[in-house]
């Protein structure tokens, strides 16, 4: 799958063409480590100088890069990449089998689980502000999130979606996206499990 979609170029403020694809290769992961990590580290150091940034640098999952290659072959796992100007701007991993709905009204029904979604650090406003630089692109995370919802609809899961939100993003997923907060998961460092019903997914896609 490879499609052209729009993201926003921060400099012009206008939509520009980008590519979203699911043929993600190991080289893409290596690229994120090599290119993104130093920028994230620099921004984290800058942020740590500022007062009251507790939520922004949480200590959570250990993401095992060595397992990624094996996961590329699994039907249950799907990776999405978003590229613009020949560079990877965002990456996402979704999973369709190991998790199911927890909301009582749809308990046990399948959903698309977002295991991982991240924009390149130069696209994240809070990080770039800390470094005193402008963002490059906007709405990258949004497009990946949208792809996950669309996948859920295409699979026949009717838009049902689940994820464990980091503490600093809870407001975003609950208030802006309209997900239902279900509860803190003791098996996932007490992160908040957020879920979409089919109606909520529709409303999100339509922009309500």
């Amino acid at each position: 799958m490879r499609e052209t979609i729009q993201i926003i170029d921060n400099q012009s403020g206008e939509p520009v063409d980008a590519e979203i694809f699911d043929e993600v290769a190991l080289a893409h992961f290596i690229e994120t480590q090599a290119e993104w990590r130093p920028v994230v580290l620099a921004a984290a150091r800058a942020l740590s100088q500022q007062p009251n940034q507790g939520f922004l640098i949480p200590r959570h999952f250990h993401w095992d890069w060595t397992r990624k290659e094996a996961e590329l072959k699994l039907l249950a796992v799907k990776f999405y990449g978003l590229a613009c100007e020949g560079k990877l701007q965002g990456i996402m991993k979704v999973e369709t089998v190991a998790h199911s709905c927890r909301l009582p009204e749809q308990q046990g029904k399948p959903l698309v689980y977002i295991d991982y979604v991240e924009s390149a650090p130069w696209n994240i406003k809070k990080l770039m502000t800390a470094l005193g630089q402008p963002q490059r692109f906007r709405a990258v995370g949004t497009r990946l999130f949208e792809a996950a919802v669309l996948q859920s609809q295409e699979e026949g899961f009717r838009g049902r979606l689940g994820l464990h939100s980091l503490p600093g993003s809870e407001g975003f997923y609950i208030n802006e996206c309209g997900m239902t907060p279900v509860g803190r998961d003791p098996h996932k460092q007490n992160l908040l499990w957020c879920e979409f019903t089919p109606e909520q997914a529709e409303r999100y896609l339509a922009g309500e």
Binding site: L74, V97, A98, G108, E155, G156
Partner: protein, 69 residues
Amino acid sequence: MNPKRTMTLNLTDQEMSVLDQLSVQKDLSKTALIRQALRLYQLVDARITRGEKLFFEDQDKQKAELMVL
């Protein structure tokens, strides 16, 4: 999306009945359900091949081992 190929599935009455029931329960088409089953099978098999073990844990927190061959 990816090009698809068609396959005919021969199931017993009982198997068909289970497929129907699970479809309703999971709010999935029969095709989507079979697809989920295949994904689950591959995922479990991959991890067991790697040497991991799959367990069920009952209400009393007693583990019983389930192996998929």
